[in-house]
């Protein structure tokens, strides 16, 4: 069992938790993920690590309530326990040789982008961050990004806060103005990452994308998280859990990944509704 050391809502649907998991905390690096189960007989879900403290033995996770399991997770309180918490899984984000980086985060993806930005900042790289949200109400982690970025662009789709537009707007402006980066790292909705790749392509700037497919075991056994990369004209199957979650953005088949991620959309919507009803019943 793994104790919830702290819990903090970041907005109405996004929550941050610190979990006591000393073995995971000792090894966790930015870009890696964990698998958790909320309770006995629960679903295994992957969540990217949003920070870790080896001395305290804690791992930070930030999650958005999207289905039954995240709904149940959000009902757990400080001092309560999670059934299972395994990791760190996946390959850490590569940082070697990158002196100037642009971090592009979207929505709850910013939670995963943040430790990556912090790591580059710690290593002395020049960090430009672009974070985007649908609107002001779901904005998260602005101060944290400010603290670790040499430059920060905040965008909202509807213009309700900071600048109106999506994350590719400032990226394109910089690239058009002749600025370049050793690496663009983008983390967020698949459609956003696809467009970041398209925006960077004319300028030949390398792009790393962080993929978040559906997973079951997360340890290289079931193959559910497979995605197709196009390498030298050949389609190659890769597994996000052991080969990723970071991949070369120019090689990823985004349309296929988006289609696969919607496989259980109906089930998820239904499961969340069920979980909500269950909790409502409990409150009455």
């Amino acid at each position: 069992m793994y104790r919830i050391v702290s819990k903090k809502p970041l907005n109405s649907t996004v929550t941050q938790m610190e979990i006591e998991a000393p073995l995971v905390a000792r090894k966790a690096k930015p870009g890696q993920f964990i698998i958790l189960r909320v309770d006995e007989d629960g679903e295994r879900i992957p969540l990217t690590i949003a920070g870790s403290d080896a001395e305290k033995g804690t791992v930070k996770i930030i999650f958005q309530i999207v289905g039954g399991t995240t709904e149940k997770l959000n009902h757990k309180e400080e001092g309560e326990y999670l059934q299972d918490f395994a990791g760190p899984l996946g390959v850490a984000t590569h940082t070697e040789g990158i002196k100037k980086v642009c971090i592009v985060g979207g929505g709850v993806g910013c939670a995963i982008a943040m430790p990556v930005a912090q790591e580059f900042h710690r290593l002395g790289a020049e960090v430009t961050s672009i974070i985007g949200f649908r609107n002001k109400d779901i904005l998260i982690l602005e101060d944290e990004f400010k603290a670790c970025s040499d430059r920060l662009f905040v965008m909202t789709d509807d213009g309700s806060y900071a600048r109106k537009g999506n994350v590719t707007v400032p990226l394109k402006e910089m690239l058009e103005a002749g600025e370049t980066f050793d690496m663009i790292i983008t983390i967020g909705p698949l459609i956003m990452m696809k467009f970041v790749v398209l925006a960077a392509k004319p300028y030949n700037v390398p792009v790393t994308v962080s993929m978040n497919p559906i997973m079951i075991d997360g340890t290289g056994m079931c193959g559910c998280c497979r995605l197709t990369l196009h390498q030298d004209g050949k389609a190659v199957t890769k597994f996000a859990c052991v080969d990723g979650p970071d991949f070369n953005g120019y090689e990823v088949d985004f349309d296929e990944a988006m289609s696969r991620n919607r496989m259980y959309a109906d089930f998820e919507a239904h499961a969340r509704e069920e979980a909500c009803n269950l909790f409502k019943k409990g409150e009455n």
């Binding site: 059934q83 299972d84 899984l89 340890t219 056994m221 193959g223 052991v242």
Partner: protein
């Protein structure tokens, strides 16, 4: 008394009933049947059956005890050499092992050794008065990576000799393939849990949620004071055919399909982990895993299930009883058929059509058998112009696995072969001092009993190494 030429039949659930539930298919011998079956054993001097068993169970001796009703004594004889009798009695391919060597089998059907083993083990497990003798500690610590059949066997054998054993398991439940792979209707999970519980009573610690190669490395295990490590991390990533359409929604690896159903209980009425149920299902492959996937699909409510296998019935590698059961349950075998492409739905007028990207069918080609290939089996060759399509909603690829790279990538000096299997010598020793390995991590996908044999061999070698 004349010998009954036939094995006593295994009582089973009716095919029409069991095709719709996840309860165990085979119900097991009664005491009366078991004694009667045991009496068929000739107790021949040369004991060829023992040589046919990968863990060399003293078969005639335990059967002799059944003849006289000493069932617990029979169990004790089996458990001298096997850590998982209730499991093996159910999942071993006896027809190609012990029973294939049975002297009685020359003229008649061989003795039902597997069925007798199962009877003895189940009777033992149903008793509440059984206590485990905890052996005296010998002061040595050994780590076991993975809690599947090889790891459990290695741990059990060493624990009985007084070693302090910790098993590290990546998943949340111990048992490995016995839990995530083999379905409830063939191996009830309560039996696996019972076997694991017995090991715990022997003093074995089981640490779940620890991924060796990630959470801890092999080198760290030595730093923690373990003097030897056994790696039984299992088969790893699923293989695909590399044909068009394998990323469509509705295409599963057998590992994923079975893990969703077995480990994550997607077969229950209120699952938290989804799985595609119903419709028409094609399972590609001919091994035990393919049979398990096909029969699981049927029980999940499929209206039609096909096994698509490129060779003929004769080459089908699955355990004979499973093939027979699958056929009785109404699974259609498309033998000498090979998939060419998986077809999916695509609405050209509406890219947001929710049906887009889901499987609608599979294009297959008929095969014929040519000359024997490297495996000694006749090579299947496509018959030109014989392509046709079948309507299916779900496709399960059960064509094997490739070893998981996590341990290899984080253990300096641990060498693997061309296919990624860990290289071991005849003692189960890897290229790293003190590190032993066995099971699918070494051989690629194989059987439960061969993994147990490897775990047993490694336990013996580790014992010799630490006492040298």
């Amino acid at each position: 008394m004349a010998i009954n030429p036939k094995k006593h039949e295994m009582p089973t659930q009716e095919p029409s009933v069991r095709a719709h539930n996840f309860n165990e298919v085979a119900l097991g011998y009664t005491e009366e049947i078991a004694v009667s079956e045991a009496q068929r054993c000739l107790n021949c001097k040369n004991q060829p059956c023992v040589a046919g068993c990968p863990v060399n169970i003293h078969i005639p001796e335990f059967i002799a005890q059944i003849k006289t009703g000493n069932f617990e004594e029979a169990y004790q004889i089996i458990s001298q050499t096997s850590s998982l009798p209730a499991v093996c009695g159910r999942v071993c391919p006896q027809e190609s092992q012990c029973e294939s060597k049975c002297t009685l089998g020359i003229k008649f059907e061989p003795v039902g050794i597997g069925r007798l083993e199962r009877f003895v083990a189940d009777l033992h497990n149903s008793r509440s008065d059984v206590t485990v003798n905890v052996p005296e500690s010998n002061g040595h610590k050994v780590a076991v990576v993975g809690s599947g059949p090889s790891g459990l066997t290695c741990a059990g054998d060493l624990a009985k000799k007084g070693y302090k054993i910790t098993i590290y398991e990546a998943l949340h439940t111990a048992g490995g393939v016995l839990v995530y792979g083999i379905p409830e209707f063939r191996l009830p999970k309560s039996i696996v849990a019972k076997e694991v519980e017995t090991l715990k009573q022997l003093g074995v610690d089981v640490e779940t949620n620890v991924i060796i190669g990630k959470t801890l490395t092999i080198d760290e295990l030595f730093d923690m004071g373990y003097e030897a490590v056994f790696v039984g991390s299992g088969a790893g990533l699923p293989n695909f055919m590399n044909i068009p359409g394998e990323s469509l929604k509705g295409v599963y690896s057998a590992n994923e399909f079975l893990t969703r159903s077995n480990l994550m209980k997607a077969y229950r009425n209120d699952p938290v982990t989804p799985i595609m149920k119903g419709g028409k299902v094609a399972v590609v492959g001919g091994g035990n895993v393919a049979m398990d996937a096909a029969r699981t699909a049927l029980r999940l409510g499929a209206e039609k299930v096909y096994i698509v296998y490129r060779r003929s019935l004769e080459e089908l590698p699955a355990r004979k009883e499973e093939v027979e059961h699958a056929m009785e349950e109404g699974i259609e075998f498309l033998l000498l058929h090979n998939p060419l492409e998986i077809l999916g739905y695509n609405n050209p007028d509406d890219p947001r059509d929710p049906k887009n990207g889901f499987v609608t069918g599979m294009k297959c080609i008929k095969m014929e058998l040519g000359e024997p290939d490297a495996s000694g089996r006749r090579r299947p060759i496509p018959v030109p112009g014989s392509e046709f399509e079948i309507d299916v909603d779900t496709v399960v690829m059960a064509i094997g696995t490739s070893p998981n790279p996590l341990i290899k990538n984080t253990t300096a000096g641990l060498e693997v072969n061309r296919k990624g299997g860990i290289i071991v010598n005849e003692d189960g020793l890897t290229t790293r001092k003190g590190v032993y390995a066995g099971g699918d991590a070494v051989t690629g996908a194989a059987t439960v009993i061969s993994a147990m044999g490897a775990g047993k061999l490694a336990a013996k070698s580790i014992d010799e190494y630490l006492n040298a």
